[in-house]
Symmetry: C2
Subunit: 347 residues, 2 copies
């Protein structure tokens, strides 16, 4: 598999998408853990919670009432980090300190009217509805003249800073391409210029060939633990056909994405027998009016749990001052995710 030469030794791996490195210490997961453990709140959610500001018909922070929606529902974030009415101003202080105002729009997307679901418990057609809304929002927001990038993401679980268990995600659309996406754009542009194929097309072909980090796949999408995964059970979902954004997907491909999302998150839930916390996000071409043939859409899942439902990986001292470090190999994590059943029946 090409990795045998490294044996069980600590080693660094290169992230092809960002140019960043990760330190892998295969045997470190064996150390005893006496530190902080996480409380996973028992899932006793009712189908409708009268105190939830995301449930149909309920009142939101701004005093508005949600419609009686049946599928998905999207609205402007009542506590937005970015605002559309931000005028352009910049400053350079003492020739050194640079800052510039940043206009943008923050949106909230409810995945379902049902307060008690999350993606793996939704039916594939319902998840397809979420995919369609993501595509529509990307198209609509991206077409605005002041919006150069649309970041769609989901924080799931209290451990990931999510303050409401109603199934929902967010969109932060803004003028600039944020740093992580910009780095991926540079690496993809380099590869496309050199080879005339997208970086992720070549990467995916190699992973399918090696078949040691694949988790789930169908005709249109593949989910795998990337060679350079940072989080213990990090995965990336890649379209088989290079597509620069969600709007370029056919109807069958969108169904394929919904299917892979259900099966991947179902495996996550099965792994430790809990509703698995994570942050997930979709990287697509910037909406700056350029063609971006180098961009290949993909979705990242960054789950924090390490060895059980209550012990997470801490990205702290060394990781903050040096670089990310992981305690198990991506190959062993992929094998564990392949070995569990896909839980997540339709609730």
């Amino acid at each position: 598999t090409g990795l045998d030469a490294l044996g069980d030794n600590p080693h660094r791996r290169l992230n092809l998408l960002t140019g960043e490195w990760v330190l892998v210490s295969p045997h470190r997961a064996k150390r005893p853990w006496q530190g902080q453990t996480e409380a996973i709140p028992a899932d006793t959610r009712p189908a409708h919670d009268p105190t939830c500001y995301l449930c149909p018909g309920n009142e939101r922070a701004g005093g508005e009432h949600n419609p009686d929606y049946a599928g998905t529902f999207v609205f402007d974030n009542d506590f937005a980090a970015l605002r559309p009415d931000t005028g352009d101003a910049q400053t350079e202080i003492g020739g050194l300190l640079r800052a510039r105002t940043e206009p943008g729009i923050c949106r909230v997307i409810c995945f379902s009217p049902r307060h008690d679901l999350s993606l793996p418990q939704m039916a594939v057609p319902a998840i397809r509805g979420v995919v369609d809304l993501w595509a529509d929002e990307y198209a609509r927001l991206g077409a605005l003249p002041e919006i150069g990038h649309v970041q769609i993401f989901e924080n799931k679980g209290e451990m990931m800073g999510c303050s409401n268990p109603h199934p929902h995600g967010q969109i932060w659309a803004q003028r600039s391409v944020p740093m992580a996406a910009a780095r991926e754009g540079e690496r993809q542009a380099e590869h496309f210029a050199a080879h005339g194929r997208t970086l992720l097309a070549d990467y995916l072909a190699l992973e399918l060939d090696l078949a040691e980090r694949i988790v789930v796949e169908n005709d249109h999408f593949v989910a795998l633990v990337p060679f350079w995964a940072v989080w213990p059970f990090e995965t990336i979902v890649i379209s088989r056909r290079p597509a620069r954004d969600l709007t370029a997907l056919s109807s069958e491909e969108r169904d394929g994405l919904a299917d892979v999302l259900k099966r991947l998150t179902g495996r996550y839930d099965a792994l430790f027998g809990v509703s698995f916390p994570y942050s997930a996000g979709i990287h697509q071409a910037p909406t700056d009016g350029e063609p971006h043939p180098e961009w290949h859409l993909h979705m990242h899942f960054y789950p924090p749990l390490l060895r059980s439902a209550t012990v997470k990986k801490f990205m702290v001292g060394y990781e903050m001052m040096g670089e990310p470090q992981r305690d198990v190999t991506p190959e062993s994590s992929a094998a564990r995710l392949r070995d569990v059943a896909e839980s997540g029946g339709v609730r």
Copy 2:
């Protein structure tokens, strides 16, 4: 102050040391918080804990017994992420996937024999002892032929993945310069080549002139909230005289560092009335045998707390997929840290 042009608008600021951006949303801290809160364990530590593997005389994981140390104590980490006996091997799979073994050494440093202290409760001469040990370890490890970088850090508090409340830090020394330090090296080299002065000397002069982000200072060191701070109460400690590493500091400068560390961490503890969690780390010149006149030693403090002892900032979805985002301005955080008393009497 140069920032007035931005008003209260969301804006991005450039990190001079890394070339990275941070998104600042001045008013977002006002949103209500219904999400996860942190339990700060009550500090009922005894002066000596018979079950602590770091206290003098006690047994460690490997079966060894700690000496009856009176000041500091350093030893090889029993669960090391890096190992000195790692042979050199590398692989490139399919022309795309790159990995290389990484030799290194992980050390643990006890700051004090007293189980119940942390830096702010130690006397300045005792903290000076820690500074001396840091310098000695940097020199000794850095002189080894296979060590190109020495990362000294401390994870403090359960929230930061610290599993033992005995006051201690760590050192991870390794062949490669890890990513965050490498980026800082590049930016510093560019500035030094252009101006013949260190980047941090010019930056510090400007900050002292502006006087709006300074927290504590003495004749030798200054602690301030950097213009580009990511964490709500992030600070950076900079030597007034450019010095590439701790071994280049005079005895008076080492005392100055100890004094600033005591006063800064005392302010942290006073801010929310708890033993303040953080990860801290010292960035110094790589130990690759080059002169590195561009390197200016400094220490970062990354504390997670946002608005109280129990509500932290989550660096999740947007921050992971896009770039770091903060909810209060660095200027207001600096003002709050200036306004609290320096707690931390000698216990």
